[in-house]
Symmetry: C2
Amino acid sequence: MAKSAAVLSASAKGARVTISDVAEALSLTKSTVSRALNGYPDISQSTQLRVKRMAERMAYQPLSHAQAIKTGRTRSLGFVLQLADHDAQRPFLAEFLAGLSEGATAQGYTLTVASADNEEHLIETFQTLLRDRKADGFILPRAMVDDPRVKLLRKADVPFVLFGRQFDPEGCCWFDIRGEDAMRDAVLHLAGLGHRRIGFINGGTIYSYAKLRREGFEDGMAQAGLTLEPELMRENAVTMEEGERAGASILDASDPPTAIVCAVDQTALGVYRAAHLRGLVIGHDLSVVGYDGIKEGAHAQPPLSTFVVDNRASGVALAGLLIRRIRGEPTVQLRKTSLAHFVNRGSTGQNTRHE
Amino acid sequence: MAKSAAVLSASAKGARVTISDVAEALSLTKSTVSRALNGYPDISQSTQLRVKRMAERMAYQPLSHAQAIKTGRTRSLGFVLQLADHDAQRPFLAEFLAGLSEGATAQGYTLTVASADNEEHLIETFQTLLRDRKADGFILPRAMVDDPRVKLLRKADVPFVLFGRQFDPEGCCWFDIRGEDAMRDAVLHLAGLGHRRIGFINGGTIYSYAKLRREGFEDGMAQAGLTLEPELMRENAVTMEEGERAGASILDASDPPTAIVCAVDQTALGVYRAAHLRGLVIGHDLSVVGYDGIKEGAHAQPPLSTFVVDNRASGVALAGLLIRRIRGEPTVQLRKTSLAHFVNRGSTGQNTRHE
DNA sequence: AAGCTTGCCGAAACCGGTTTCGGAAATCAG
DNA sequence: CTGATTTCCGAAACCGGTTTCGGCAAGCTT
């Protein structure tokens, strides 16, 4: 049949099959094919179907660059690596990126990665990417309380999604894991083990998660009927060293805690060290709960009880949300949260101190 | 002046400045401008200069997609994440990606990241990327001895560069760190401390680095006048667990070694554990040398002596090589190696066993 | 049956570049 | 001074799509 022959010659040629090939195979013009594929209302149902079927058969895939030159959209998601906070990002990055690209690929999108070493450079990077239309929208990891990226993109009216929440939600979409729930549950878990003096080591307060986790901790304490002790609470610790320092200063308090909740696993490992140096046995003299689920925690002695977050899934979710945002869905529908999963590994135990 | 006015109106409009804007500002046609910028010989020196100056002044930047539709090249480098070997990649990935994107950005290129979960999917991912012209070439991390990616890209005649070497170098460019030199130096260092029975735990033999590092170890042993003891040598350990198992079986040998060289830091940390369980003090009863320079090594007790590699710099180098390859330089010029840097942190010591 | 919509598609312009082709002006040879 | 080359640039086609515009034919009025 003539049709099959046309299909064959087009695909056998080795080169890409273009919209003109599809049009020719159907004796239509490429403009009709284009409108049919894009669902324009002035193409009859039957023609639309014929075109779609043929496009499918010929494995036609529009060339995104060719579309981009007219439409301005490339079908690509932008991600800007920030090199400054490498400590915070390192473990999480690989899984997260994998999730992003998985989510993007699933819908025919591509992931474009750029990097910036400082904040000034960061804005510049976004602007270049935008000007050259390298990305239709952006994924912003680590939402900050006062986020320059949000300001820029909001003003430029460019689609973006945050990993983390924004307190001024205008124009913002996000995916986040409810760390506040985890912190609350951590406190309740410890309270259930008889702990009454519970310390808290929070993460970087420039990030919005820190405020939330702190609130979660405070909520938990209130629910457990415990009073907050400012001398047992610290902010801005994200590395193991900072965790060790914070832990040390808490453990050296006049009336030290029997348990410490850490907003970040790395700092929990620092607390391990501070405890060891003081001859305290984790899980017995001192209970510790972390958050993140980093691999090192599972290998610590004793293994760290923590809230595991699925970074891969977060990436997939964010890619999906961003694509929906790019396609024009209102921001309000595009705010999702999920929960971290508590893994009780043995760094917590019954309160052994009698008061 | 008319010229300034034209420049102003073009750039003030807010929209991108196109090649036509430049042409208009100079009262030339866009074809002339295009050829001038691309160095065609049929444009006079003076015109070429005028055009380049004006393009500079107007901050004209060709739209890569627009170019791509005719030239087929997008000015973008492809990188496919393999999810299978996440353990091996995780720590290294963030720095490496940062380097890649830094190197790409420096030359006006962009980095496109995709992912694949298994080998079948991997090939498919490359093909899709190629078919849709998402990348002009690829960076292949972790060169394998028998590398399916190399086969595919060689056959498709697509530019690519390897992180790691290839024993059949046809059509291959690479950047690599000479792990064999590090392994040799590790042995010589240990021999200098009086060690005569030295164990070796190699990494994954599917990767080309393993063969090289093994040869380096053997070279070092030969240079030190020591004989190889197969019962003290193991292959295919990349995780801490595998390192622990390998270390345990070596330490349980009839005549155990006083030092162990590990091709991968993770496994060295596993050896730490195996040693602890046997009551051996690292740095005293057993010397250990690693390779990679992972952060956990610096925090181990005692800190792990290791060969630090600069993954960021490797990324920058590879991006640069790939761009040169894309621009047509012959592969032979594009093979570079560099050295790892030994950091002596205290996990090695004088041989204390008297024989 | 004439006049008006409406549905549906082709023709053509356009997006922002690259590349081929041809021809005018300037240079050279004789 | 004429004829043949060069030199250098403009005109136009092209890449693979999208989008505007206009017109034909069928269906509806009245």
